[in-house]
Each structure stands twice: as C-alpha cells, then as structure tokens.
C-alpha cells in the first residue's frame, strides 16, 4: 500500500504524437512460423497464449514457413495478389472521385487489403459476412462487379440501394455480404444470431462477424461473445486491429487487457492473433476458424494485427493526431509487397509482371468507372427518383407514407 493517498485518474496515451518519431518498439513481433498450429478441436484452455502472440507465415526473405504455411496453390496466391491490387486501385480511384465531388464520402483500405481478401477465400458459398465499412475485399475477392460498387458509391440511377445509403455501405446477400449499417458493432451480435439460425435449421452455412479495434468497446461486442459462447454458434468473430479508431489509438478501447484477442478468453472462445498484413497467415487462420465453425466446434475469435495507412475516411486528416511517417515504420510491412515478394521468391511472379498487372488492373478499374459514370454521379446525371425515397420502408406502403408521398408531389 505504498501509494495510498490521493487518487489519480489514468488516461492512456499513444507512444508518439505528430512531430515525434514513430516508435513501434513495444509491438512484439514473433518470428514467422514460430506459433504452433493446434488441432481444430483443441481445448481452448490450452491455447490461451495464442491470444498474446502473432501467427505469421511469410518471413523477411519472402518465404512461407512454419505449420500454418502450405495451404494455397500458386494460382490461388496469384489470384489473391490480384484481388488486393484491385482493391487498392479501386480505392485510389474512388478516393479521387470523392475529391472531384462525384460522391460525398469514401473509405479506403490502404494497408489492410489482405484481411478481407484472404478471409473471403476461407468461406464457402452461402456463408454470410456481417462486415464493417472496411471489408470491401470480401466483395472484390468474391467477384462482385466493381461497376455495381461504384453505382452505389455514386448513388446514381443504377445504384442497387436506390440512393438510400451512404457511399460504400454495400449490401449483397448473393455474395454473402450483409447490409452495412454504419452504426458500429451492431452487426457483431447479428452475425451470431445468423449463425444460431443456421444451427437451428441444421444447415451447413456459417457466419463471419467483423469489427474494428475501437468498436470492441461497444456493448454489442460483449453481447455477441456471450451469445456465441453460450450457444456455440458457428461464427468467426473477426477483430481488425488497425491501431486507430479515427483519432483514438487502440489503447483507449483495449484498456489493460493486453490484446483484443484476449477479450475472447473469458468466454472460453479460442482466440488467436494473426499478422493481418500476411495474406497466407490470414487465410490459414481463417480456414482454421471456419473449419471449426463448420464442425460444430463453435466460435473462434481472431484479431488481425494491421495498420490503417490511410485516413479513417475522406473526411479525416490523420496528420493531426499521428506522425506522418508512422505507417512507414509499421513493422509488419505492406500486404501487397509481401505477397508479391513471396510469389517472386516462389518463381511464379516478377517485377515486370507486377508492373504489367498494375496497368491491367488500372485499366479495368477506369473502364468500370466510366461505365458507372454513364449512370450518373452524386450531383450529375442519372439519379434515383424521389419516389424511391418513399419505397421500401415497409413491405407494403402504409397510408401515412402514401399521403406524404402525395404531399411531396411524387
């Protein structure tokens, strides 16, 4: 009781603020291949340390090493690289379109492309994601048409959501992508409910819940963990820790728990941490978790350790709260560069082919953009009708809405 006396209030602070030198020396990075791969029916109590480590497959030399390596073929990895490159190019074009006033808002994935692109490949048709606003890789990697995404971003006449939703809040049941709310964490418990429904129906489909580091502080996150644990729901509980919740560093939501994965331990849920910038590691851990879910072994919590290189959204300026060069200092590197180097090391890729692929992808994205813009952008060209505003509130329009639609003159 050395310090009994006046109480002091504690507010965590990040290591460095703007003007300082980026410092990630407190982030312990285990060697690639050093974390064991347990059997899927492992007793969660015996792998609690995995919530405090980081599963990695790609080493500094670009080799895939250790027990989590070896799941993907050359072709699958080349496809994965293409998905990540496509997402990055798509983001760059749409960010620019926002700056040009063609839409109101945009959110990019810069630095986090591996998480959603690799995860998608561990799912089967019919499975359902409950994503946040930073998992468009789930759509890209599932072949959802870019033009449709752009139509939604532009809220144009071909927008599948009829101009009702903020840009990038996609919805596609067909592609296993639940309607993005924009409210945080609500979708996490919904994913668990969807998974419970699949089990109640003796189906074989599973759900994937998505949340960011900051939103794990919401009560819905905890509801989801309780329900997932209680009913052993076939769900993968994904936490994308990209270090920043707008301007708030991850320590504000994490508190004293050490890691976000550790949140799962109290619920008896196997909880793993993985290098989120390592396509192979993300895929391998996702596969482990989806296999568990499909085998009636219940939920798995995965924390993806990554870094949000870009701004939170088109409305955000990170230079006001973190050093500009912080992303360069991030010790887990860039997911595209790392997979590219691995493929070169495997002898199936080269700098030349990479440059050529970049050009092809750029052309594909630009051509999709041209097609989308033929249907209009937010303030120009074709747009959803005012009538569409009144439709779809209910299956059948009630009298009071009919009266209001008449009042609006449509």
């Amino acid at each position: 009781m050395a310090d009994a006396g006046m109480l002091r209030f504690h507010v965590p602070e990040p290591e460095v603020r703007p003007g300082g030198t980026p410092d990630f020396s407190d982030v312990t990075i285990p060697k690639a291949g050093s974390v064991p791969r347990p059997e899927i029916d492992v007793d969660p109590r015996t792998i609690r340390d995995m919530a405090f480590s980081i599963i990695r497959v790609l080493n500094r030399a670009g080799e895939a090493v250790g027990p989590w390596a070896g799941l993907l073929s050359d072709d699958e990895l080349l496809e994965g690289l293409r998905h990540m490159m496509t997402l990055r190019t798509f983001d760059a074009r749409m960010q620019m379109a926002q700056r040009q006033g063609k839409t109101s808002f945009y959110m990019q994935h810069l630095g986090e492309e591996a998480v959603s692109c690799a995860f998608r490949k561990a799912l089967a048709p019919g499975d359902m994601n409950f994503p946040t606003y930073r998992q468009a890789g789930l759509l890209i990697a599932d072949g959802y048409p870019m033009v449709t995404m752009m139509n939604q971003i532009y809220s144009n006449e071909a927008d599948p959501l009829k101009g009702r939703q903020l840009p990038i809040m996609y919805s596609s049941k067909e592609h296993g992508f639940f309607s993005i709310s924009g409210n945080l964490a609500t979708q996490y418990i919904q994913a668990v409910g969807w998974a419970m429904a699949s089990a109640i129906s003796n189906d074989s489909k599973i759900a994937a819940a998505w949340i960011g580091d900051g939103s794990t502080a919401e009560s819905d996150f905890h509801s989801a963990l309780v329900f997932a644990s209680t009913y052993k729901a076939p769900v993968v509980l994904n936490v994308v820790n990209n270090q920043w919740a707008i301007s708030t560093f991850q320590g504000i939501a994490r508190g004293g728990s050490g890691t976000f994965a550790a949140r799962g331990l109290g619920f008896g849920i196997p909880s793993l941490r993985v290098d989120g910038n390592d396509y192979l590691a993300v895929h391998a851990v996702a596969k482990w978790a989806t296999t568990r879910a499909r085998s009636n072994l219940g939920p798995t919590l995965i924390e993806y350790v990554t870094y949000r290189v870009g701004a939170h959204s088109s409305s955000d300026d990170p230079s006001a709260y973190r050093p500009k060069a912080e992303s360069d200092a991030w010790p887990l590197g860039d997911p595209i560069v790392r997979l590219k180097n691995h493929l070169i090391q495997r002898g199936v890729w080269s700098d030349e082919r990479h440059t050529q692929a970049e050009a092809e992808i750029q052309e594909m994205v630009v051509s999709a953009q041209r097609e989308a813009e033929r249907h209009g952008t937010l303030h120009a060209g074709g747009k959803p009708s005012t009538r569409d505003m009144f439709e779809g509130v209910y299956a059948e329009m009630p009298p009071h809405l009919r009266r209001q639609r008449q009042q609006a003159g449509v």
């Binding site: 359902m128 409950f130 599948p160 959501l161 009829k162 009702r164 939703q165 809040m169 919805s171 596609s172 049941k173 639940f178 309607s179 709310s181 409210n183 609500t186 996490y188 418990i189 919904q190 994913a191 668990v192 409910g193 969807w194 998974a195 419970m196 429904a197 699949s198 109640i200 129906s201 759900a207 009560s219 819905d220 905890h222 509801s223 989801a224 309780v226 329900f227 209680t230 779809g392 509130v393 209910y394 299956a395 009630p398 009298p399 009071h400």
Partner: protein, 337 residues
C-alpha cells in the same frame, strides 16, 4: 368458445404460429424452461424443443440483435423483453437496425421479427416495471407498433405480427393479463373468464394490423385509447353518463386514421388518453392528426389525459395513473367547452 386470459391467448398465438411455421423461434430471459416470468411461453419448450424455444442471457441488445441476424437468415423470431422498461439496451438494434434493414438494403435483407414486452403500470412495479414507451417506437420509420387490450385481439394481433414481413413492437399491457382493469384499483377485477372479449377461438385466426375498433359507440365525444385505457374510458363514460364513442386503436403504427376521423367528425369532440407521460407522448400525434383532419368539425379543443411528466412513482401509483376520475373530468370539461 373457450375463454382464455390474455397470457393464455398470447401463449396460444405463439403455439399456433410455431406449429404452422417451423421458422418461428421464441426466446428471451426466463422464457425457455420456466416459461417466462408472466408464463406467456409456458410449455412451448417442452412442445417444440430447445431449438425453437430457449432461455437467453440477460442482454436485451443481444436478444434483439441476434433476432435480427436470425431474421436475415430466414427465420421468424418472436422474442420477449421481460419488461418494456428493459428494452433500452436494445433500442439501437431496434431503431438503427431492425427498422431500417429493408430500406437500406433495398429489400436485399428484411427483418420479420416480433419484440414482445409487457408494458404499463398498475402493479406497484415502480419505475422499472411500469413504463409505457410506445412513443419511442412510433417515432421510428420502419416499425409497426401494436398494443392489444383483450385476449381475443392479443392472439389475433400477435399472429398477424408474427406473420408480418416487417419488425413489430408488441406491447402487452400487463395490468390486463388477467382481467379488464378499469383503474378502480380498490375493487376486484373481473377475470377474463367472465368477459366476452376473453373468448378466444382455438387454432389460427388473425386480427389485422392497422385497424382500430369501436369498443363503445357514442355520439357526444370520441375517446382515443389503447391498452388498459380502453377500460378506464369505459368506466369514465359510465360514471359521467357521457355518451362517449371509445375507439381502441389496437395498432399505433400504422394508425387507422380513417376510423378516428370518421368518429371525431361525427361527435365533434375528442379526448386522447394514455398511461405514458404527456409531453411528446403518442397523444400529441393523435391530437395533431385530429386537429389537421377534423378542424372544421371540432366544437372543443382536443384534450389529452396522460401520465404526469415524472418518472413512474411507486407509492403514488394511483396519483400518477390516469384513472376514470381524471379522464371523467376531461370528458366533462370537453363537453362544457
């Protein structure tokens, strides 16, 4: 025809729905093995198994949030929130998610859920077992809000709600569970077994959402009521001798404006009554609608009788509760205006 309490009628509605449609799933706190603190789900787990009727953790946002996910999957969850006073942790899920899912996804995903909850006072439940939060839901685009006042309607409205393609907030006036309470707390309550609205047919039938019913025809003044206030209004009319036309709204959203307007245009006077607090209560909406649609027929200002704008008290329950005396005074004043 068999007579049932409102509890039995509600249970029967779920029983009938679960038997007809295996997508109907019932859960909530204490709902499974025990059958709910008011026993509305008694026997359903034994009959339909633990996959169809089960206990949930004490987490209203979890109960409603998981129900939304189940509905997105294709099931039809009918969940219980133990008291309407406990619904607030689920409010975000109801307002931001259930109510908007169809709209924001353009019908790609829908949310056919029912959230049942006992509402209203009269049981010495204090502020945590007595609230009437209906206006917090009628203000939300995309929801339907239902308040039955008797066993017959409760069963038919609940079956309609379960079969509805959109989310329904189903508020059960708990003071009516066992009989038609008219606000005379010092007198014994007639049980539903002795009331004609306690007649509940076996099997499947529906009472349509969005349709009010005239409980007492009258020529002098229209009383707009729902839930427990329907019986308070009947008592007030009888005790004042005023020939009131009492409309039981049954569904607040969507509202049966036609029935309201026809009645007020006939009587030329209107009193609105609810248990919930006055300011920004549903009575404000009713009063505004009557003013907009019946202005040239009105012979008196529209009066509102409601709970006072205080938290629901414990010892002062009968000073708070808008009983027949308070409503009766409003009827007299409206007739004299």
């Amino acid at each position: 025809m068999p007579r049932r309490t409102m509890i039995e009628a509600i249970r029967d509605a779920m029983d009938v729905s679960m038997a007809r449609d295996e997508r109907v799933i019932v859960y909530g706190e204490d709902v499974g093995f025990f059958g709910g603190v008011f026993r509305c789900t008694q026997g359903l787990q034994a009959k339909y198994g633990k996959s169809r009727c089960f206990d949930a953790p004490i987490s209203e946002s979890g109960i409603v949030g998981s129900a939304i996910g189940m509905a997105a999957y294709g099931l039809k969850p009918c969940v219980e929130v133990q008291f309407a006073d406990y619904v607030y942790p689920a409010y975000d899920q109801i307002v931001s998610e259930a109510a908007r899912l169809r709209y924001r996804s353009n019908g790609d995903f829908t949310c056919p859920i029912v959230v049942r909850m006992p509402t209203g006072g009269g049981i010495f439940g204090g502020q945590t077992h007595s609230q009437s939060p209906e206006a917090l839901f009628t203000h939300v685009s995309g929801l339907k809000v239902v308040v039955p006042s008797n066993p017959h309607d409760a069963k038919g409205l609940l079956i309609s709600s379960i079969e509805d393609p959109d989310p329904v907030i189903f508020l059960e006036p708990k003071r009516l569970y066992n009989g038609p309470f008219d606000g005379h707390h010092d007198r014994p309550v007639t049980p539903w077994s002795k009331h004609e609205l306690g007649e509940v047919a076996d099997g499947h039938y529906t009472v349509p959402l969005g349709k009010a019913v005239i409980r007492r025809a009258g020529a002098a003044v229209t009383v707009l009521a729902y839930g427990t206030m329907v019986y308070v209004a009947e008592a007030a009319a009888e005790e004042t001798g005023i020939d009131a036309e009492i409309i039981d709204l049954r569904t607040l959203l969507p509202l049966d404006l036609e029935t309201i307007v026809a009645s007020v245009n006939k009587t030329g006077r209107c009193v609105v009554v609810h248990e919930a607090t006055l300011t920004s209560g549903f009575g404000a909406e009713l009063s505004a609608l009557v003013q907009e649609h019946c202005f040239y027929h009105l012979e008196a200002p529209v009066a509102r009788v409601a709970g006072w704008d205080t938290p629901y008290p414990h010892a002062q329950e009968w000073d708070y509760f808008p009983g027949p005396a308070r409503l009766g005074r409003a009827l007299v004043e409206t007739m004299e205006a």
